[in-house]
C-alpha cells in the first residue's frame, strides 16, 4: 500500500500520519500537564506503517457525526490495511465552500458527504469524479440496492456521481409525557397525528401543550438557521399543493396564494404562546430537551441528541398542516472529490471504505436517518427500530428541493430564501412580503450564469 502523502514542510513520516503523531505527542504532554487527568483520553488511532489513509469529510455536526465515527471505526477494524479518518466541518455554505476549494486545489479528502440536492452545483464543474460501477459491483453494491428515484438523482450525464447514503426527512419530535397530559396522545401513548392535523387543530394542540409546560408548546428555531426556515417552508408549501417554475433566464413562478397561506400559518404559530418568538435552533432544542415544550420540528438527525436527554422521545412524520401529503426531505450521499494526483491504491481503498460505511447502515439508522441501501432497510432489526419506524412513512411522501443549479442543502439559495422570510416570521411584515421577496431573490439567481 502506498505510504502517506507528504503534504507540507513538515510532512508525515513512516506511515504514521502527522495528525496521529502530533495528537499522541501533544495529548500525552497535555495529560501530563494536567496531572494525568486526561490519561485515559489519548486515543491515537492504531495506524501502523504501510497503511493507506482514507480521509472522509462530513458535515454531521449534530449527534449523527458521532455515529459516522463509530461506523468508520468498524470499517477500519474490518480493513486493517486502511487508516480511516473522518472530519466534521461546519455545516452549510462553509462546508461546501471548503469542499470546492479543496477540490480545485487538488488535495481534497478522498471522499466527502454531500447533499444530493447539491450535485448540480458540483458535478458539472469537474469538481467530482464519477464512480466506477464495476468497482462498486465487485464490492457488492449495485443499482438494485437502491430505490430507483434515489439512484436517478445520483446521476449526472449518465454517470453515477453520488453514492446515496440516506434519506433524511424534516419531522416532528414529541415529548410523550407532555403530549399525553395535553390530551394529544393516541392509545399507544404517542402523539396522535390526527390530533395535530390541519392548521387550526395544530395551533390548538400547541396551546394545549403550552398549558402543560407553562411556557410554550412547540419548539421551532428559525433564527440563524436558514436551512430550517427553508425546510419548513418548502415542506408546508408542498403540503399546500404549491408548484414552482425555476427556469434560467425567465422569471421565477410560485403559487403565491399557497405560499402566503404558509406564512400566515407560521406567523400564527410563532406567536410567543404556541412557539417562542425569535428562537434559534439551539435554544429551541434546549427548551425541548428540558421539557419546556412538547413538540419540536427538526431533522431526524437530531434523534440521538434528543434521546440522550429523554430516551422515550417520540417522532412522527411532519403533521398534515395542509391537505396534500408531503414531507420535506433531502438525501446524503458520498462523493469523490477530484484528486490532483490520482492514486489507484488509494482509490481502491476509498471504494472499500465507502462500501463498508453503506453496509453499516443500521448504525446510521440509529442516528435517525433512513438508509438508502435497501438491504439494510429490509432487515428485521431495522424494521423494529423505534421511533424510526414511526416516521418511516415520511420517505413515501418525501419532497425534495426544487431542481436548479443554485438550490440545495446548505446553499446560498437557502440563506437568501430564509433572509427573505425574516421580517415576516418576526411579525414585522405581512405574510405576502416574504413571498414577494423570495420571488425577487429567485429572479436574481435565475438571471445569473451557472458558474460551474
Amino acid at each position: 500500500m502506498a505510504a502517506s502523502r507528504t503534504r507540507s514542510l513538515v510532512g508525515s513520516s513512516g506511515g504514521l500520519s502527522r495528525r496521529e503523531l502530533l495528537r499522541a505527542a501533544l495529548v500525552g504532554a497535555g495529560g501530563v500537564a494536567l496531572g494525568g487527568a486526561l490519561a485515559g483520553c489519548a486515543t491515537p488511532s492504531a495506524a501502523g506503517a504501510g497503511k493507506t489513509s482514507v480521509m472522509v469529510w462530513d458535515l454531521f455536526s449534530g449527534g449523527d457525526g458521532a455515529l459516522m465515527q463509530e461506523m468508520a471505526g468498524v470499517v477500519a477494524a474490518a480493513n486493517p490495511d486502511i487508516a480511516v479518518e473522518t472530519t466534521t466541518l461546519a455545516w452549510g455554505p462553509p462546508y461546501y465552500t471548503k469542499l470546492a476549494m479543496a477540490s480545485s486545489g487538488g488535495r481534497p479528502p478522498e471522499a466527502a458527504v454531500m447533499h444530493m440536492s447539491r450535485l448540480a452545483g458540483y458535478a458539472p464543474g469537474g469538481l467530482l469524479e464519477p464512480f466506477d460501477l464495476d468497482a462498486l459491483a465487485e464490492l457488492g453494491i449495485t443499482e438494485a440496492d437502491f430505490a430507483p428515484a434515489v439512484w436517478q438523482k445520483a446521476q449526472f450525464e449518465g454517470q453515477l456521481y453520488a453514492l446515496p447514503l440516506d434519506t433524511h426527512p424534516y419531522i416532528a419530535f414529541h415529548n410523550p409525557d407532555i403530549v399525553q397530559q395535553a390530551g394529544l396522545a393516541g392509545p399507544d401513548g404517542k402523539l396522535d397525528l390526527a390530533a395535530v392535523a390541519g392548521a387550526d387543530r395544530f395551533l390548538e394542540a400547541g396551546r394545549a401543550m403550552a398549558e402543560v409546560t407553562g411556557e410554550t408548546g412547540v419548539s421551532w428555531g428559525y433564527q440563524r438557521d436558514p436551512a430550517g426556515c427553508w425546510r419548513m417552508f418548502w415542506g408546508l408549501y408542498s403540503q399546500n399543493g404549491g408548484g414552482y417554475e425555476l427556469t434560467p433566464g425567465r422569471p421565477a413562478a410560485l403559487d403565491e396564494e399557497a405560499a402566503t397561506e404558509v406564512f400566515e400559518f407560521l406567523q400564527a404559530m410563532v406567536d410567543g404562546k404556541v412557539a417562542a418568538k425569535n428562537q434559534d435552533g439551539n435554544a429551541a432544542s434546549g427548551r425541548f430537551m428540558s421539557n419546556r415544550t412538547g413538540l419540536m420540528f427538526a431533522g431526524e438527525w437530531d434523534l440521538p441528541m434528543f434521546q440522550g436527554a429523554n430516551p422515550d422521545v417520540g417522532a412522527t412524520q411532519f403533521p398534515a398542516i395542509f391537505d396534500t401529503p408531503a414531507n420535506y426531505a433531502d438525501s446524503h450521499a458520498f462523493v469523490l472529490p477530484k484528486q490532483g494526483t490520482p492514486d489507484p491504491a488509494r482509490r481502491e481503498a476509498t471504494y472499500r471504505v465507502l462500501a463498508g460505511l453503506l453496509k453499516e447502515g443500521l448504525t446510521w439508522a440509529s442516528a435517525g436517518h433512513i438508509p438508502a441501501y435497501q438491504p439494510i432497510v429490509q432487515e428485521p432489526a431495522y424494521q423494529e427500530l423505534t421511533p424510526q419506524r414511526d416516521y418511516a412513512p415520511a420517505a413515501e411522501v418525501a419532497v425534495f428541493d426544487p431542481d436548479a443549479w443554485f438550490t440545495g442543502g446548505g446553499s446560498d439559495f437557502q440563506t437568501r430564501m430564509a433572509d427573505a422570510m425574516t421580517d415576516t416570521l418576526a411579525g414585522k411584515a405581512p405574510a405576502r412580503t416574504a413571498v414577494t421577496r423570495m420571488l425577487s431573490e429567485m429572479d436574481r439567481f435565475l438571471s445569473q450564469p451557472n458558474p460551474a
Binding site: 476549494m101 464543474g125 433564527q223 440563524r224 425569535n278 425574516t422
Partner: protein
C-alpha cells in the same frame, strides 16, 4: 505619519534616508575618493533581496495577477479564463450587493471607530492617574486583544445566545424584552461593533497610555503651582498634547475597520438578512462560495481603489506638515 511621507517628499533618484539623517552625519570620508565608506558599500542589494523577492512574489505578483483575473470570467472550478474586458467592472458598478456591502463596511467603520478612540482615551486617562491596581487595569483592558477572532466570536455569541445567554437572562430578569443581539437586523451591527470595541480597544488604549507617559511632568507641576485644578489640567495640558497621537490612532483605526471580515463572518456570516455583510465577505462569497473568481477580483479592485483614494487624501495634508 512621517514614516510614509518621507518617501513621498524624497526627490527621485536620491536616497531619502539622507534627508532624514541626523545633522552632522557625514560619515568618515577617505581621502582618495571623497566618498563615505558607507557609500562605497555595494552589497546592500543582497540584504534587500529576500524582502524584495518576498514582496515581489506575494504582493506584487498577486496584485498584477488579480488585476488580470478581474478582466476574465475565471471560475474556481478552473473553467473560463477568457478575457471579457470590463464586463466584471460593469457588473460590479450595477450590482446592488457591492454597494450594500460597501455601505455595511463603512457603517461598521463609523460605528466602531468612534468608541474605539473615545473609550481607549477614557481608559488611558483613568489608568494614567496612577491609581492603585495598575497591573489589573492594563491586563483587563488589553487582554481581549490577545484573543483570536474564533475565541472572541465563541465568547460573544455565547453571551448573546438567545434565551439561555447571559444578556438575555439578565434582560428577562429585569422584566425587559430579550434583544435579538445577532438576529435582529437593526441590532446586529451594533452588537458586532460592541464586540469589536471590547476586543481591540486595548491596542489603542496602550498607544494612548504611551503617549500620556510621554507628557513632561513639569507641565503639570507648573500648572499645579498656577493653581489649575484636575479638570483644568486635563483640558489645558493633557488633551492638547494628545492631538497628534489621536490623529494617528484614528487613521490606523479607520484603515483597520475598513478591512473587517473575521468577527462578522464568524458571528453572523453576514446575516441576518445580509444586514452585516462587509464587502470583504462579499468578495469571499462571490469568489469561493459561488466560484466566480474573476468577478470577485473585480470587486476587490473597486474596494482597493476606494481605500487608495482614502489613503492618498489623508497623505496629502500631512505632507505639508512634514
Amino acid at each position: 505619519m512621517t514614516v510614509s511621507n518621507a518617501g513621498v517628499t524624497a526627490p527621485p533618484g536620491r536616497a531619502l534616508s539622507d534627508l532624514r539623517k541626523p545633522s552632522g552625519r557625514s560619515g568618515t570620508r577617505t581621502a582618495s575618493t571623497g566618498k563615505s565608506l558607507r557609500e562605497r558599500d555595494r552589497s546592500g542589494y543582497l540584504f534587500v533581496a529576500p524582502f524584495a523577492v518576498a514582496t515581489g512574489l506575494f504582493l506584487l505578483l498577486p496584485t498584477l495577477y488579480g488585476l488580470w483575473m478581474s478582466f476574465t470570467n475565471q471560475s474556481l472550478t478552473g473553467t473560463g479564463s477568457e478575457f471579457i474586458g470590463f464586463a466584471n467592472y460593469a457588473e460590479a458598478f450595477s450590482d446592488p450587493q457591492v454597494w450594500t456591502t460597501l455601505w455595511h463596511t463603512v457603517w461598521f467603520t463609523v460605528l466602531s471607530t468612534v468608541p474605539l478612540v473615545v473609550v481607549a482615551l477614557v481608559m488611558a486617562l483613568l489608568v494614567h492617574t496612577g491609581l492603585p491596581g495598575q497591573w489589573v487595569w492594563r491586563m483587563s483592558f488589553f487582554a481581549p486583544y490577545l484573543l483570536t477572532s474564533a475565541v472572541v466570536s465563541a465568547l460573544s455569541s455565547w453571551l448573546f445566545q438567545p434565551d439561555i445567554g447571559l444578556l438575555d437572562t439578565w434582560f428577562t430578569a429585569l422584566g425587559l424584552q430579550p434583544v435579538g443581539w445577532l438576529t435582529d437586523e437593526n441590532v446586529a451591527m451594533f452588537s458586532i461593533a460592541g464586540v469589536t470595541v471590547w476586543w481591540t480597544v486595548g491596542f489603542n488604549f496602550l498607544l494612548y497610555l504611551a503617549a500620556l507617559q510621554g507628557i513632561p511632568q513639569q507641565q503639570y507641576e507648573a500648572a499645579t503651582i498656577d493653581g489649575a485644578g484636575g479638570w483644568r489640567r486635563l483640558f489645558s495640558i493633557t488633551l492638547p498634547q494628545l492631538r497628534n497621537i489621536t490623529g494617528v490612532i484614528v487613521v490606523l483605526q479607520l484603515l483597520a475597520s475598513l478591512k473587517v471580515f473575521d468577527q462578522i463572518y464568524l458571528l453572523t456570516a453576514g446575516g441576518p438578512n445580509g444586514s452585516t455583510r462587509p464587502i470583504l465577505e462579499y468578495v469571499y462569497d462571490t469568489g469561493f462560495t459561488n466560484y466566480r473568481l474573476g468577478y470577485a477580483s473585480a470587486i476587490s479592485y473597486v474596494f482597493f481603489a476606494l481605500i487608495l483614494v482614502f489613503t492618498l487624501v489623508r497623505l496629502l495634508p500631512s505632507r505639508k506638515e512634514a
